[in-house]
Symmetry: C2
Subunit: 480 residues, 2 copies
């Protein structure tokens, strides 16, 4: 990519106030959008799910069209971790959907067209989504509703008029989805774009600002912006730029350090090739075999009239909801949703090494992964399950994070962020970034490695590397 | 990777004569190796396969240990190409094996430790393989034979003493293997390495030289060396180096042009990001669903006492062989092999654009692909099947290549190279590189794109991009 595009992203990230929507007016606007529609989300029994039913042969929970998604079973065996085999329900949605953002320059600064979107599972009902968020069933209009707004800009036949700034296939939650991926795409449009009433233009700096609040920016927005690159620079060039700019205020030291970590290509502890070798080693060592089975064959899970649930109430359950949302293309519908039964935490531990912030990255196996392992945050787990003494083991670094999660000196970021409200019912996880002190051991366990932010962004670019939890945290890193 | 490692590879590639084994003595040595062992490969009926049998329930052809590999069935459906669904036999070998080469500097030049290895399916019986070529069953000694030579150098506990130069997971043939990958690894050893009698040290330039002959360098060697990088340089820097070096002889114009294409990071027709976007678009559009079925459920294929074969004799057949090889860790064994029933061709069309050689790269779907599509040569097909008039369609650019394949002015490379002799019986494909003339249309069909060699090497580095046929051709490109 030519550096001018990356500089365009960086300039937008450093622009904290919007030219079209101020930070002050944003929440007023958001609340007005929310007030303008009627929202009713009711839990219903599975036999009230209308076009959804349990397949007579497999017991899978499917839509009558065969489209959208299905709740199926898988049988898993692996030599990773502490549990060699299990079966579980999983969401199967093999189609690749669009998560698309339209960008446009106003006064020379890239703004992103964001949507106040209501999803049945959303906490707060409304969160800020990409311009276009559409499954293939959705945009090919299986449900016979209106086509999604702004779809035309993303269709192949029209895209030549615009500039593609980013276009990647990225994974969804591997513990809940079977090899699900979406197309994360940002296009720059150089013509007037009509502004519909649920939409607003924000700079990347504004989106970062809103990521400082709980449950405002939805998961789909977070994954798309996580892949945004800010350039590749040598330390010499960065030092030169720094020397001709006013020095940054001391309280911005972490933020400016993160910017350096995002753009510097030198002074990393490990080369990209060494990291690839580390990942190759682990993928060669660990096996993941996943067999599709009927939901009725899943062991230790029960299907009741309202729930598909683990017999001890662990992990998650599948529920049915009836949704009425007045500003959607279909005003009322029913669908299954996945409800987490426990709180979760995702955390990166970071530390300055060689003068550059490095992240502790974990190689993590999840049953729905396309390729055995993905790169995950330092800690990613359901905290309820893994509290000390509750299980026979606990994840590395969990104690470290939990012990420091209220310490303002080391907690550099901490919010609750939601999973995607079209599939998950009011699920939020604590997103946290903690800066380790000097005594933190730089030697890591085998399936952990140090990476700079620039290296993480490089792996995002080549797809199939970072999991959605890692990307969610990365999306929240701001520079000023 | 630091540039000095890449320069080490380049220096070895430019060293045409070995310090330890001359080109002149190589074939004498190779023939002596061949003469020193007894080789007998006999076709046998399946009921003579000893530890292999057809599973009572699935009819899959399996080893009694459950290890090694199995011949199974798959049912495929896709919206790519002209055939929406089919079933076929496929090799299932889910373990990731080692394809490992030990490298060592002699007089400052990297040499690679190559093995004269006999495989039951090899044309010429003996071909030059990596130092270590071992499945996990193999090196964990399921067959209770001796451990493979030089295995110790590659084991995790010893590897810290050496330098990893390359370490990637790369795919095997997607039409024959179900999501099979191997670990392609090169390690540099800085201590004396005992030289066993079936082994020799060669420079990369010598290996390139031997790739000018038919069926000398085996598939495993080709895939490992295809990923070797030679650096990333700007045009300015290249021009500077060229200005201080003696000008290259005119007959080396193609070779020096290929070197420029391998190392130059500018003047490409498309950026890496544009190529990723092109690939993302295609992966979003095309679906591939693969279901494992029993071999007995595969339609239009028959199992006889000696063959698993397509009813019209198309594509390939599975046969049984009894092998006796005296220098192997097990001296006699039986196994299934896949025999192609037709000749095949793999071809890259290249053209200088913006002063840099670009390759016509195809996005190709094969049933065993891990991720729907891989980047393939311009033409890759069984030629028998696709001769004009024989089928309802024919692959793009096939006519172009066939019409020029005997023209020495445009054919820059042409040999027969073998598929892996441990799984494929005497299968060879024509490997050909053709330089297009000025009139060749730079506008390509949707699923083709122009890339430089530097870009192809970049995608190899990040794994899961180039298929084995593309890598095979790339391995043969020499610079002087």
């Amino acid at each position: 990519m030519n550096q001018s595009l990356q500089q365009g992203f960086l300039r937008s990230a450093l622009t904290k106030e919007g030219h079209l929507m101020t930070n002050e007016s944003f929440f007023t606007w958001m609340n007005k959008r929310k007030a303008s529609v009627t929202v009713n989300i009711d839990r219903v029994a599975f036999d009230q799910l209308g076009q959804w039913h349990f397949d007579a042969k497999t017991s899978n929970l499917v839509h009558e069209s065969g489209k959208f998604f299905a709740i199926e079973g898988i049988r898993v065996s692996t030599n990773w971790g502490h549990v060699p085999s299990w079966s579980q329900p999983i969401i199967n949605q093999s189609e690749i959907g669009f998560l698309g953002i339209i960008a446009r320059k106003f006064d020379g600064v890239l703004h992103f067209l964001m949507q106040a979107k209501i999803e049945p599972g959303n906490i707060n009902f409304v969160q800020l989504s990409p311009t276009l968020q559409a499954t293939k069933s959705n945009y090919t209009r299986v449900h016979k509703g209106n086509p999604p707004n702004y779809l035309d800009y993303f269709l192949k036949e029209n895209r030549a008029r615009h500039t593609v700034l980013l276009d990647q296939l990225q994974s969804e939650q591997g513990a809940r989805f079977l090899r699900k991926r979406n197309r994360n795409i940002i296009i720059e449009v150089n013509e007037d774009v009509p502004l519909l009433e649920d939409f607003c233009w924000l700079t990347l700096g504004q989106i970062h600002h809103l990521l400082g609040f709980d449950n405002v920016i939805n998961m789909d927005t977070r994954t798309v912006i996580s892949g945004i690159p800010f350039g590749d620079f040598s330390r010499d060039l960065i030092d030169f730029y720094n020397s001709i700019q006013p020095s940054l205020a001391p309280n911005l030291e972490f933020e400016s350090g993160m910017l350096m970590s995002a753009i510097e290509t030198e002074n990393h502890l490990h080369s990209i090739e060494t990291i690839i070798s580390w990942f190759t080693e682990l993928k060669s060592m660990y096996e993941l075999q996943v067999e599709s089975i009927g939901l009725s064959e899943v062991q230790d899970w029960n299907i009741t009239d309202r729930h598909i649930e683990q017999k001890d109430g662990k992990y998650f359950r599948v529920i049915g909801v009836r949704a009425e949302i007045a500003n959607r293309e279909v005003r009322a519908w029913t669908q299954p949703l996945v409800e987490s039964v426990q709180e979760g935490i995702i955390a990166f531990i970071v530390k300055k090494i060689n003068g550059v912030y490095h992240f502790v990255v974990q190689a993590k196996l999840e049953a729905g992964n396309l390729d055995i392992l993905e790169m995950a945050p330092t800690v990613q787990c359901l905290t309820g399950n893994y509290r000390k003494g509750y299980n026979e083991y606990e994840p590395a670094f969990l104690d470290y994070v939990l012990a420091r999660q209220e310490d303002p000196k080391v907690v550099k970021y901490s919010t609750f962020q939601s999973e995607e409200g079209g599939r998950f019912y009011q699920e939020q996880n604590r997103n946290i970034i903690i800066e380790a002190d000097d005594s933190f051991d730089e030697d890591l366990p085998d399936n952990y490695i140090w990476m700079t932010l620039n290296q993480l962004k490089t792996f995002i670019k080549y797809n199939n590397y970072l999991n959605i939890q890692a990307r969610s945290l990365i999306s929240a890193i701001k520079f000023i």
